[in-house]
Structures are given as C-alpha cells and as structure tokens.
Amino acid sequence: MPGTLRDRWSLARVPRSLHPAAWWGWSLGTAAAASQTTNPLLLVLLVAVVVAVVSLRRGDGPWASSFRLYLLLAVFLVVVRVLYRVLLGGGEGGAVLLPLPELPALWPGGLRLLGDVTSDAVLQGLQDGLRLGAVVVCVGAANALANPKRLLAAVPGALYEVGAVLVVAVTVFAQLADSVLRVRRARLLRATPAGRGVRHRHRVVRAVVVPVLTDALDRSLQLAASMDARGYGRQAGTSRGRRLVTGTLLVTSVVLLGYGAFAVLSAALPTWRWYPAEAAWAQLDPGLLVLLAGLAAAALGFRSAGRAVVRTRHRPDRMRAAEWTTLLSGLACFAVVQLVARGPEAGVLLPGVRAWPSLTPALVLAPVLALLPALLTPPPALTGAQLPRAAAGGLS
C-alpha cells in the first residue's frame, strides 16, 4: 500500500472505467430520489448534477452517445405532460392563462376536453413532467456511463452462458441493423418499378428480408465457428451430482422467492410480533423471511453452478474505493431524500403550485452527495472510438 495520502490520491486518479454495477447503483439511487419529489428546484438540481457527472465521467464508446437521446426524451415527456393537462384537465383554479372553449363530455362523468388553461394546470403538468423526466435522465446516465457489455460480463460465473448469449445477441443485433442499411441501400441500385399493390409490396419486403436474413445466418455461423475455434465452452463439463445439487437449489429458490413475494405483497401471513410487542420495529412480516431464504438458496445455487465454470477474466472489474464511493453517494442521495420525507419537513418535497417552492439545507445536501463521483472517481479510459471526430465537444 502506498505511503502518503497524496500518493494514494494520485494513484486513484489513473484513468480507468468503473465497475458498471457502481454506476447502475448510483443512477438508480438518484432516480429513486427524484421519484420521491415534485419540487422543481430539487429536480432541476438533480438533473444538473447528473448531467455534470455524465459529461465528466463518460467514456467514448457508442453507448456513451446515447445520453443525448435520454435528455431529448425527458424534454419530450415534460412537454407531453403539460399538453396532456391542457387537453384533458384545466379549470382547477389559479389564474386563467388562455381561455379556451370547453368541449362537453360525451357521457356523464366522461372525459372533459380543453376548457380554460389555468396556471395550476400548467404548473402541475410541469412538476409531474419534471419528475418523470428526471427519473429518465438518471437511468439514462447509467446507460451512458456503464459499458453494457461489461455489465453482462460481470455476471456471476453461473450465469456466464446467459451472459455470453446476451453479448452475442447485442453484437449480432447491431450487425443486423448494419446489414439492413446495406441491403436497403443496395435496393436503390436496382430500379424499383412504379407498381403498387400487395404483390409489389410483397416483392419489396422480400428483396430486403431475404438478403438480410441470409446475411445474419452467415454471420452467426461465422461468429460461432470463430468462438468455438478459440476455445469457447471448453471447460463446460460438469458431473451429474453437481448438476442435481445446482438444479435443486435453484428450483427451491424460485419457489421460495415466488411465495415470499406473494406473501409480502398480499399480507397473506399473519404478522409476527416479539417483545416489546408494541414497538413498530418488532413487527415482522414472515413473507420477508421466506424471501430471504429464497435469496440464500439462489446464492448457494449460483455458487454451486459457478464452481463448474473454470474461466478467468482479463482485467476483471473490481469494486474498489472509487466504485464504493460512487455506489454510496447515489444511495446516500436517496437516503437523505427519504429521511426528509419521513421527517417534519416532508411538505417541501411535494410543494403546492401556488407558492414558490423552497429547499431545506438537507435537501441541498442530496444533489451535492450525488455530485461526488464527478470529483472522486478517476476519469474514464478512452478507446478512441470517436478519434476521427476528436474535435467534437460538449454533450453530443
């Protein structure tokens, strides 16, 4: 271990990509925090923090450029939400911004259309839309920050086969999109007749589908041959006894998890109490115990299955200090919001539309916590995927 704090800090700043699970934990934490509130100040702060972290810490892989789409989707959601209020709601009170005639309901208690556009309706739409948009941006951040393939590769050994199938599926899907484009382009080369009708359409579809599917099959076979020739699945032999144990454990866990979830959600089992019986924390739903038992069985089953896979990883992603910082900062952000929601100042999280929303010091702390990964994690290692466009900057 290096000596001084300064050495350790410098070492921690060496560019690398974080464990994908850390980014997912962080982004789900912020998303959960955003879903707890309609306070526009807090939501805007959260979105700003997430955008800042993404622009500072995302790599240059193809998935990284998807963040812009999530931002556009969020804006779209806000707009749709407001329009929806204008179209269906209206007239709940507040100043009238735009007087519109109201269409009478077609049946008693049916939908009312249009009507006066009031400030309340628009503001409520804005708040709702912002909340939804913020959640989308937070989840989109995980997609932009974590390499989806590395996330799949980080699955436990027992799920290795499933992970490999998914990785290949992702690859082949991208190639499929590629070959659709190529064949469609090639179609332009053969003059298409000006005919119409079912037969014509049938012919056009066939002209694209046949070459694309042939191409996809060829590629899949080539990929399979390449993987096989490079030793894929070589160590997959397991004994019969081991398979039996693994199977039993996994089936048991599925049954327990299913029953546990049912019990918890439906409160079908009587609540257990223990001393002191009147304290709230002493109440325990036995469904929860069943769920825990199911999880334990699943863990044992995965471990048993994973032991059969003799496979090593080049540069495995490990949960190190930066990863834990990221994960915990996301969870802490959520915890702070949750604490406020349980506390006396819960009203700040769901402000009305008539008063200017306010923030408490604790609520300012939440986005600040979520910002920590931007400062405390190492910068991403670049792959040069965008090298020809090195001049590109900003959020593109």
Partner: protein, 528 residues
C-alpha cells in the same frame, strides 16, 4: 507437425467429393500457400485441420488428421484451440468483444489462463503485432489491416503451433496486405510457427512461402515447390510467368531475383512504346462530376472531387481502405449521400443513367433462380423477356438459369449482377472492388467483359486494390487519399512510378515503365 492422411470430404447433396484422398505432410516452421480455383475446396481443406469441417458445415469426412503425431480426427475445434489458430477472411465477422485488448484476451479467458500470465501474454502479443498503441481502441474503428492483425493476434495469444488463415489479405489494400504478410513471415522465422494460408492474390504471399499446396479441380491435392505447382493450379504471379516465358532457370519467385535476371533485358530493351494519349473529355459526353462532397457525420469522405470520364474509357480508382473510393462511387450513382456537387451524364442529370455493382453483389439478389432474377430485371427495364438472360450468357456462358443465385461462384454472381444492372443499358457502369474473391481465370474473364463494355461506348469506373488487374484492365488511374484526388493520369504514369502501387513487372523493369507481362514479352520479341 501436421499430417493429413487420406482425407476425403463430400458435402450433403454434392455429386462429387470436394476433397478426395488428400495426403499432406507439413513440417514444423514452414509457410505453405494453398492455391486453387474458387470453389475448389481450399476452405474445406483449411477447415478440416481444426475439424470445423464437418462439424460446422455438415458433410461426410473420411481420413485422419494428426498434429505432432497425436490423432485429432475426432477432437472438437474448442479442444484444438491452443494447438491450431484459425483466422478467417473477414476479421470483423469473427470478433467477439469490443476492444483490442479484450479481443486478444478472449481465448485465454475461455481456457482459464491465470490473470497474471494473461496480462503478460497480451503485452507480448501487442508488441509482436506492432499494435501496442491501439490497445484500448474499439475494434470497429481500426483499419482493415489493423483488424486483420488483431484477428491473428487473438489466436496467437493461445500460442498455437499451427496457424491456419483463409484469404487473410483479400479485403486489404496493398500496403495493409504487406503488413499482414510481413507478420506471417516473422511468425515463421522467429517463433517457428507453422502457417497454412490460402490466398487468391498469390503474388502477395508467394515471396514468403516455402511450398505450395495446390487443390486441383478434381479434389486431389498436390504439394511442392511454388515454381512447379502454381502453373498447374492456374494462378501464376507475374514474376513467375515472366520467368517461365523467357525460359529463365531456375524460375525466379521474388522480384529481387527477377530483377537480377532481367539486368540484360533492361539494357537491351528501350522504353515501352508510347500509349495513345488519353482522349480529352468532350463537353456533354460521358460522365462529368463536379465538386462532389460526401460527409458521414463530421467525417468528410469525399472532399469536392471533380471527375470527367469520356465514353469508352476505363478508369480505376485506387487508394487505401477508407480513402473514399466507395463513397465516391455511391455518390456518382446517386443512391449514396451527396451533400454537394453535380453529376451529369451526356450533359443531362445522371440519375437513372448509372449502374453500380456494389462490393457485395449478393445484396442485390433475392429470388430463387437466375432466370427469375433476369426476368425481374427485364420487367423493370421494360425489355422483351429473355434479353437479360441472353446478356448473361454472353458474359458467362456456363450459368444454368435454373440455379439458385447463392450457389453461383463469386465470378458468376458478379457477372449476374452486372447483367442485371446493365439491363436498362445505362451509359455509365461503376464497379466497387469487383475482383474480391475472384480467382485468376475469373479476373481474366472480367478484364475481357470490361473491355467489351468500353468498346460499346460505356463509361467504366472501377475501384480496386488489385494493381495487377488495374494494369491489365484500365487506361486511366485516379488516386484518392482522404477524399481528395492526389493523382490522375494514364495507368502507366501513375502505377509505374509509385513505390507501393507498382506492378511486379514494373518493379522488375524499373526504370523502364513496363506494367504487364504481355507487353514486356511483345517488346522482347518473345512468342507469347
């Protein structure tokens, strides 16, 4: 090292054996070049070495395969992963991961190599291939030559004693191909790896190879010295052809040997007879493109190119992979993007008067039989029934109209698509990498077809990496680099003086600017 004994392969539904009674002994540390016509069974032979044939292809296989004396006839490809490394023609199709390092490590991960050893071996392989600076690059952003080197590296990390490569340079430009061949030579010389490589462009590999394995049309296989066997297999590199015609013994294989032998010839011969000057472009006649600009996102693929080609001229576009040749062809046709510029044919807008045969001609084929495809083209062009089929028969006489287009050989597919595209009799014909996957005989046929098109007054523009083909086929060469025209002139001026684009004969005869064997033989007064 490798011993193949009495190997016979027949695919289901085939009428004859693809390989019949093949016996082959390959000693350690040799580079063997597998040659043969398209469809002769080269790939079958290579696939048999690590049992991908018949496991991935179906079919019946008889015989034995021995590696270092161990019988591996029944082993699965994955069991042979650390003994036989296999690299295919299209590196992208075989990549499993995203980045260079991950791809190099993939095989070792499957075999459970300890992480510390894995790191060391990845480093060693990066250095061996000379791609250490690319280590974290995404695979799709690499050039063709780099991708092929990564593909070779990804099997080298398992340290196989035998490397099997199926047409590793066929999609590469001359420079990238030389990189790959140099790498193979280094593996053989420094590491003692045994290499079995199939290649159509024999001239690229023949200088590095120790022996030639010829797959004959009847499925038999013979091996021996390159000079003896190449003529029999129908693929003779120009240097070898020259030596044979001029009666040099021993027949030279390398440009260097041939250059020494040709010292007398060079002093005796004068410069080649002057070519007829290129016809000046006539206004409102032929292809006239001005200021063509193509951008893909922020990347400029074609940066304002002017190109005027009169009728009857065959013009070649050359340049490294990614220099904008394909983008230019697609923009000239009108089907691809074009942000600026005009394309006029005979003074009128070019749309509908240009035919383009793309790099993968099979993309255009979707019907069940050759006859149906031709009838479709007739209908769309408003021609009387049967005219396209007749045109096809003129191009390649031996195509059965009832055949499925996918079952045709590469050369036949190309001819079919060419016939389909010519149905409307467009004045301009564009060909994108037409020699890909063609053997020597098919290339000779294509040269004749192109000459016939030009004679009928078509404008022909073709993009190609194959300088020998360009020298035989074209009268003018345009060199593209980074989307700009950096050279344009008669084929002799452009090819003979370039260190990288020169044909083998040009290298042998430099500074005399002969390009092809035929014209040299004529000048030397030798019966050809």
């Amino acid at each position: 090292m490798l011993s193949i004994q009495h190997l016979t392969v027949r695919y289901p539904g085939a009428e004859r054996d693809t390989l019949s009674d093949v016996c082959l002994e390959l000693p350690e540390g040799e580079l063997a070049l597998v040659v043969g016509r398209t469809g002769s069974g080269k790939s079958t032979l290579l696939g048999s070495v690590n049992n991908l044939v018949p496991r991935f292809t179906a079919g019946r296989r008889v015989g034995r395969i021995l590696l270092d004396g161990a019988d591996v006839t029944l082993a699965s490809p994955r069991e042979l992963a650390d003994r036989v490394g296999r690299v295919g023609q299209d590196p992208l199709a075989g990549f499993v991961t995203d980045t260079v390092e991950e791809e190099l490590a993939y095989g070792m991960e499957q075999l459970g190599v300890a992480p510390e050893r894995m790191r060391v071996r990845v480093e060693e392989t990066l250095d061996l291939l000379g791609i250490a600076h690319l280590r974290s690059r995404a695979l799709t952003t690499l050039s063709g030559g780099e991708q092929q080197r990564v593909a070779i590296g990804s099997v080298l990390t398992l340290q196989p004693r035998l490397l099997v490569l199926d047409e590793p340079t066929s999609a590469l430009d001359p420079v990238a191909a030389e990189e790959v061949v140099a790498l193979l030579r280094r593996l053989v010389h420094d590491l003692g790896t045994t290499v079995l490589v199939a290649e159509h462009r024999v001239e690229r590999v023949v200088e590095a190879c120790d022996r030639v394995v010829a797959v004959l049309p009847d499925g038999r296989v013979r091996d021996g010295a390159p000079a003896d066997l190449l003529p029999e297999a129908g693929s003779v590199p120009p240097v070898l052809e020259l030596g044979r015609r001029l009666g040099w013994a021993p027949v030279p294989l390398h440009v260097r040997d041939a250059r020494r032998r040709a010292a007398g010839l060079r002093s005796r011969l004068g410069p080649p007879p002057a070519d007829p000057p290129l016809p000046a472009p006539v206004a409102d006649q032929g292809l006239d493109a001005r200021g063509v600009l193509v951008r893909h996102g922020r990347q400029v693929a074609v940066a304002g190119v002017d190109l005027a080609v009169p009728r009857g001229q065959v013009c070649a576009l050359v340049g490294r992979n990614g220099s904008g040749k394909s983008s230019l062809l697609w923009a000239l046709h009108g089907a691809g993007p074009r942000q600026a510029g005009t394309v006029r044919v005979d003074g009128r807008p070019g749309r509908g008067q240009v035919a383009l045969v793309p790099q993968t001609p099979a993309d255009l084929l979707y019907l069940e039989t050759v006859a149906e495809e031709c009838a479709d083209a007739d209908e769309q062009a408003g021609l009387p029934a049967g005219s396209t089929l007749a045109a096809l028969a003129e191009l390649v006489p031996d195509v059965d109209p009832g055949q499925h287009p996918r079952d045709l050989s590469e050369g036949q597919k190309l001819a079919l698509v060419l016939a389909l595209q010519l149905a409307g009799s467009p004045p301009v014909v564009l060909l994108d990498e037409p020699t890909r996957g063609l053997d020597a005989a098919a290339k000779a046929t294509l040269t004749r077809q192109v000459a016939e098109l030009a004679r009928r007054g078509h404008v022909v523009v073709l993009a190609s990496h194959d300088v020998e083909f360009v020298a035989r086929t074209c009268s003018r060469v345009v060199v593209l680099a980074d989307g700009e025209v950096v050279g344009d002139g008669p084929v002799r001026d452009v090819l003979a003086d370039s260190p990288l684009l020169a044909t083998q004969v040009a290298r042998v005869m430099s500074p005399l600017r002969y390009l092809t064997v035929a014209e040299l033989l004529t000048a030397a007064g030798s019966p050809s």
